[in-house]
């Protein structure tokens, strides 16, 4: 009985973790030479047929090389199609950092830093712009090659497997990738969700799709209890309860984690996911 009720009330948190693990599992198959998903989340090959390229990586590669490649544009189209439907759901459902960050957030913090929460998420567009400018100037895709959590996560996985199997790999690359992941985890420990909310340009680009995506948040008819539980559980700091008169919410920061939906279900039962216009 308790498990049943858990899977009903917490169904989104449950489901999205399993989807994340499934995606990582499908990527792990490549080390067994099963060509289901090859590469990483910034660029990959699906079923040895569909090329997939992250839109921000595409932009960076475009401005760094100053030459347009039609193949690269084709590779971004599957991603764009998926995000026209699901918006920024990538961040909450597929990004491996979301899982790692949620583990970090279970640790007890001896201090609390409040000022990071006050940084508006729009600052992230300036950072994404600066990264693109920097890539343009030094002619290297600076975020994707050095800083990206997705690149570093899959690079360290590959490097670890290759190290154990004694295949050619640079040990220093493994060290670099793991270190940058650890730095991100430390950043998360000091400033919760600063990376997701403000710094990460990949999520910023996906956030733009939230304005037009089929998936969005709706408010049902009924009376709000003014408990503000939804605002408290939202780790992306979306102002959920303030938008209740507008009937629907299309925030660039929403990653469709479902925390607000699950919380409200126990109370006023007002918030729901809506797939459609």
């Amino acid at each position: 009985m308790s498990l049943m009720s858990l899977s009903f009330w917490k169904r989104y948190s449950f489901l999205r973790r399993w989807i994340l693990l499934l995606v990582i599992f499908l990527f792990l198959l490549q080390f067994l030479r099963i060509k289901f998903l090859i590469g990483g989340l910034s660029g990959s090959l699906f079923l040895s047929w569909v090329k997939i390229l992250d839109p921000f990586a595409f932009l960076e590669s475009l401005v760094a090389s100053k030459t347009f490649t039609i193949d690269a544009l084709w590779a971004t189209i599957p991603v764009i199609l998926v995000y026209l439907i699901f918006g920024r759901a990538f961040c909450g459902w597929v990004c491996p950092m979301d899982l790692l960050f949620s583990w970090v957030n279970r640790l007890k913090r001896p201090f609390e830093v409040k000022f990071a929460e006050k940084i508006p998420s729009k600052v992230g567009f300036i950072i994404a712009g600066l990264l693109l400018l920097l890539s343009f100037l030094i002619e290297i895709p600076i975020f994707s090659n050095y800083l990206s959590h997705l690149t570093n996560f899959f690079r360290s996985l590959t490097a670890l497997v290759f190290l154990i199997a004694d295949l050619p790999v640079d040990l220093s690359l493994f060290a670099y990738s793991v270190m940058s992941l650890i730095i991100l985890l430390i950043l998360e420990f000091c400033f919760p969700r600063l990376w997701c909310r403000v710094l990460c340009p990949v999520g910023k680009i996906y956030g733009l799709f939230n304005k037009v995506s089929l998936l969005h948040l709706r408010y049902k008819d009924g009376e709000c209890l003014q408990c503000a539980s939804c605002d408290k559980v939202c780790y992306m700091k979306v102002k959920i309860s303030q938008n209740i008169e507008r009937r629907k919410l299309r925030s660039q920061d929403c990653i469709f984690c479902g925390n607000c939906v699950e919380t409200c279900e126990g109370k006023a039962h007002l918030i729901k996911f809506k797939l459609g216009v």
């Binding site: 590469g39 910034s42 590779a75 154990i164 295949l167 640079d170 690359l173 493994f174």
Partner: protein
Amino acid sequence: MNRRSFLKGLLLTGLTGLGLSSLSPKGALSLAFRKKEDFEPPLVNIPVGGLIRPPGAIPEKEFRAKCISCGVCVNICHSMKYDAIAVVGLSDFRNLGTPYVKDMRDFPCGLCMECPKNCPTGALKRLDKEKVSMGQALIDFSLCFGWNGDVCLSCSKACPLGAFVFDFYNSQWGNQPYINERCVGCGLCVKYCPLGGSAVKVVKKEVYQRIRPEYDQVFNRLLKMSMEERYLVVYNENLPKILSRGRIHEREYR
């Protein structure tokens, strides 16, 4: 919560174990865990001249700008069982994250052309394998069995392009192979050279353009040498070096 994390851990450990057990086919594994060769590489005075890129790579500067370090080429190479492509580490910070062929002695490129076919950014361009230009293989004439009185031909037999790339100069000193400028630099000859430490080295094409007059001078001098001179060179200079490195029969291409 504890039970869940425990189950997750169990799942991950199981997958890792499964993964590692079937990672390398027997052959690759036995080769990989063999004692590493510590001979100095052939042609020490000729530098490689940079990173040997995967086949189909666009010019170096544009390649660095286009590549986003997604790892498709690395992992497609692994799934094709060549494992040739590695990723540059901190030793070359400007190229960090970009792919290169690291160890041609054990993991040369097989020219399957899957990586240029599947590169999502266009850093690797699709082309025929004859038109690939990863580098140029150079034979060290002072170490090669074929140039010092033996018949070996492992390199030419391993070459995926065969007679397109190899020229042979037969004499009483053996069946002497010469790799011409049509070589694409895949490195299969480096792997299958039975000499300890290999007698073949792959250098970048730019380096080859620069050192070619010098290299061909050595080659032409050897061809023109009289019997007595050649005898002295082979027995006094070359054979002691070759014998100290030894012949590794498992590497021979048969």
